[in-house]
């Protein structure tokens, strides 16, 4: 007789569990070294509270009613619950606040895609430190976590959620034309981006800037390249990222990051720098994050904030692959 479990969920058996525990401890150890205190929040929250943070409840997919008829939702990530916690439980504590977590989160899956309905996230939230210091600190913690996970070849893509929008505004592109361009960028469709740009009422120079800049990614050379291509408008749009890159360089982390002018993330609460984590051993991203300077304000405690989350199971798969190919170990 076999008894099924829902697709996208799984049982974890002792061998894997042992390795997952080791990895989890290594990650939490790295967070702890930087003074981040571990917190836990309920698996389910009031939907109203999640919506307070993000109008799409950060993509929460599973809802139920409690005995009083209130809508409960399974959290889809830890950022909004921790923003709620910080704004509610730490009202008399001075910023900065440093929290970390190791918690399952829940999202909808498309059948037969190998996606996880329930997945384990490990991450940090740094509340009360703005850019560039806060961004640099979080990237430093993320880099240390990747070291702790024995992924020397992993890289962090760093972009700016507001960069492309700012560029469109500086060119005076009206919102009804700007939104489709931003949507094309968010869906990684550079062919559609070029098609839309060709229909804009701007000069040929500006049009090629709008098409070429999102393709720039690499070391800090991308900032000079952006300024070369797009003049002051582009230089202004990347100026925040450039400052972050200088901070990373001072910490010896320049080779850990890839600056990516086409990187956007689809969660509505990001306001500045956004991150994605890549490792050559795996075709999927290992995690992501960014700045969300307005989220805490929506819970009544306006503080800048920044964080990231790693998908622990994916990090584990990448770690196993790297070990097998002999690429693991110290950076």
């Amino acid at each position: 007789m076999t008894y099924l479990i829902p697709p996208g969920t799984r049982d974890i058996l002792p061998d894997e569990m042992r390795e997952l525990r080791q990895l989890s401890w290594a990650l939490l150890g790295a967070f702890g070294q930087f003074g981040y205190g571990e917190v836990s929040t309920p698996t389910m929250e009031y939907e109203d509270v999640l919506v307070q943070g993000d109008e799409r409840a950060a993509g929460a997919s599973y809802r139920t009613f409690d005995e009083a008829g209130q809508v409960l939702a399974l959290r889809s990530d830890m950022t909004i619950p921790i923003a709620r916690l910080a704004a509610t439980r730490f009202t008399d504590r001075d910023a900065p606040l440093r929290f970390c977590y190791l918690s399952p989160a829940y999202r909808a899956v498309t059948p037969q895609r190998g996606q996880q309905r329930e997945f384990l996230q490990a991450g940090v939230e740094l509340i009360g430190v703005g850019w560039p210091e806060g961004t640099v600190e979080v990237l430093e913690v993320l880099s240390a976590a990747l070291d702790a996970a024995k992924l020397p070849r992993a890289r962090i893509g760093v972009g700016d959620a507001g960069f492309y929008r700012g560029l469109l505004e500086s060119y005076g592109i009206p919102a009804e034309q700007a939104e489709p361009l931003l949507a094309a960028l968010a869906s990684h469709d550079l062919v559609e981006l070029e098609r839309l740009a060709s229909a804009l009422d701007v000069g040929a120079k500006q049009r090629s800037v709008l098409v070429d800049l999102p393709g720039l990614r690499g070391g800090r050379g991308v900032f000079d390249r952006a300024a070369e291509l797009g003049g002051t408008a582009a230089a202004d749009a990347v100026s925040q990222l450039r400052v972050v890159s200088e901070g990373l360089e001072a910490k010896g982390l320049a080779d850990r990051v890839i600056f990516d002018l086409g990187l956007v993330r689809d969660l509505g609460y990001y306001t500045g720098a956004v991150f994605e984590v890549y490792d050559p051993a795996l075709g999927h991203v290992l995690g992501g994050g960014g700045r969300y300077d307005e989220l805490l304000g929506r819970f009544g405690r306006p503080l800048p904030a920044c964080g990231f989350a790693l998908y622990v199971e994916r990090v584990h798969v990448a770690q196993a692959e790297e070990e097998r190919s002999g690429q693991g170990g110290p950076r």
Partner: protein, 211 residues
């Protein structure tokens, strides 16, 4: 980073033109053309795998191939797959259309009286999205082949299908009523490879774009 880039090439209608294009930028594809059962070819500077066009987004999304070439119709039908769409390669041009039996307004009449049409298609996602966006009701019936037969024998009132010359439509007494999109071959990339192998991918894109 010593491993070569892996490019997924579609077997079928786009196969010959894809190989001709790769030849034209200096990749000798003769081994791929040779009659054999191999699916994986080590060329000078690149690894080629050959796949069904509709499987290419699956392999590229998972990183089993760094890059792939497939039709826009495939990408539209699998719009939930996260891949970078880098280049419109221009060839393999055809149209995604709505067609009904020729010379009559049967479908219009049915849509008016019954408030819905039955649509047979190999592209259920594209068909569903097209009718939804227009605020029309459609009962989408997925079939795996010979779509043109469906209106003739009464399985459906209309079809959504890809057509290049329109000959198959004409032979089955069908005519185009609406054009949904024009589809050409596209170059797509895995999300991680696009970042970690930037120089190699940009170089290939530059050569393909400038050909």
């Amino acid at each position: 980073m010593t491993e070569k880039l892996k490019l997924a090439v579609p077997r079928g209608a786009l196969f010959e033109e894809t190989l001709a294009m790769l030849d034209s930028i200096g990749l000798d594809c003769a081994p791929v053309r040779a009659v054999s059962r191999s699916l994986l070819f080590e060329l000078d500077g690149i690894t080629i795998v050959t796949l069904r066009p509709s499987d290419i987004p699956t392999y590229v999304e998972a990183g089993a191939a760094d890059l792939g070439i497939t039709g826009k119709d495939v990408l539209m039908e699998q719009s939930e797959r996260v891949v970078y769409e880098l280049l419109d390669l221009g060839y393999g041009r055809c149209e995604m259309i709505v067609a009904t039996r020729k010379g009559t307004a049967v479908a219009d009449e049915l849509e008016r009286r019954l408030g819905a049409v039955r649509v047979a298609t190999k592209y259920p996602e594209i068909a569903t999205r097209h009718f939804e966006q227009q605020g029309r009701q459609a009962e989408v019936i997925e079939v795996k082949g010979s779509v043109e037969l469906a209106p003739v024998v009464g399985l459906a009132d209309a079809i959504v299908d890809l057509t290049a010359t329109g000959r198959t439509l004409a032979e089955n007494d069908l005519e185009v009523r609406e054009t949904i999109a024009t589809c050409t071959a596209r170059l797509v990339a895995n999300r991680v490879a696009h970042k970690l192998r930037q120089a190699e991918i940009d170089d290939l894109v530059g050569r393909l774009d400038g050909r």
